[in-house]
């Protein structure tokens, strides 16, 4: 069947044959490998995307069910040379170690900042509770949030 999705502001038409996830389609069919594939069970958050305004695990969305959806992946956040302030802060604070969890953290973090420009530490911890960093670099990630001005970035 044919599925039409708006991804990072661009319309994409994809032919879907089976029950494969949105994650699989993003990475294998659409050339958007920024969204990472790790647990495929919704446990790790590395595949987080914004889907119709909600931060969700793209591994748990059946691609066939994404018809008409508006999706933002990490590729749609910031541009080379003009990163999102949260991306800049992650770089400055060393919030990126091996980098595997980073795309999911960026999407979940930017989603949080859109809803709540000045989150408390508890709100940040809760918002990122579905994103696992196997380098355990959580301290630097939290510090990245602290350096943001909190004026609706």
């Amino acid at each position: 069947m044919t599925v039409t999705m708006t991804i990072n502001g661009e319309d994409h038409v994809v032919d879907i044959a089976g029950p494969e996830s949105l994650l699989t389609v993003l990475r294998n069919d659409l050339g958007l490998p920024g969204t990472k594939d790790a647990c495929e069970q919704g446990e790790c958050g590395s595949c987080t995307v914004e889907f119709d305004g909600q931060a969700v695990c793209s591994c748990l969305i059946m691609a066939a069910d994404a018809d008409g959806a508006r999706i933002t992946t990490v590729e749609g956040i910031g541009t080379e040379g003009a990163l999102h302030p949260f991306q800049e802060a992650m770089l400055a604070e060393g919030g990126v170690q091996c980098g595997f969890c980073t795309p999911g953290i960026i999407v979940a973090g930017v989603h949080l900042l859109e809803e709540n420009p000045k989150p408390s530490e508890i709100e940040i911890r809760e918002a990122l509770s579905g994103n696992i960093c196997r380098c355990t670099g959580y301290g630097a990630i939290l510090r990245a949030f602290e350096t943001l001005p909190g004026d609706g970035v």
Binding site: P19, Q41, T48, C59, M62, D65, E126, A127
Partner: protein, 266 residues
Amino acid sequence: MEFVAAHDLDEALAAKAQRPEAVFLAGGTDLMVEVNLAHHRPASVVSLRRVADLRDASPNRIGAGVTWARLERGPHRGLAQAARTVGSPQIRAAGTIGGNIGTASPAGDGLPWIAAADASIEARSAARGTRVIPWNEFFIGVKRTSLLSDEIVTAVIVPDGLPEHQEFAKVGVRNAMVISTVSCLVIRGDDGFRVALGSVAPTPIRASRAEEMINAESSITAAALDEFARIVSQEVKPISDHRSTEAYRRHAAGVLARRLVERSSR
């Protein structure tokens, strides 16, 4: 794979009547795990995400398509507490109460509240219309329900006058992203305590003997609470599995139930 993106309930029910083997897809947080692990490759899927009727919620009727993220902010204290412990923000934005009911896992976090509230499950089919099934007739085994092959769970029906004193807690290996080892929900009303538990039997259960015992006490003393916890531990029917042992679950069930009775009495 055949895929039907239903736009209303009638369309979903007609599709299910034509294809009894079709699986319903709501939040995807259960079904897609099975698909990704290659345990299940459905030949036919009916998506409910666009069915607006299922997302209606009032204090007395909670639509099956209401997400955990909404229940977290809902009017029922115990259900809101339970919703907040489900998975992660990503899971709570997608997963629904109807999915929890349809999957009927012993560890379903919403199910002890349904049991303690004496709520019912509303189901509908194209052929026979709507029926309302008491929770203890709906959940019949591990991931088994009395739902028929042409039916869909449409709502949770909540009795009038549900007491406001409701407390939920669960035991797991960490705070976030955890499937419960034992869960418990206590409601305190004028007629006494109602105590429901999850992950300690094939279905959610009420600790009826422990309820009778504590509700016969004129005052809740430490000795009465000791006896209450002991009866809860005896009454549950847990198993040992990859998440915990039978002995630990019995112990934790008593501890949790006692703690929530105390908490709901403050």
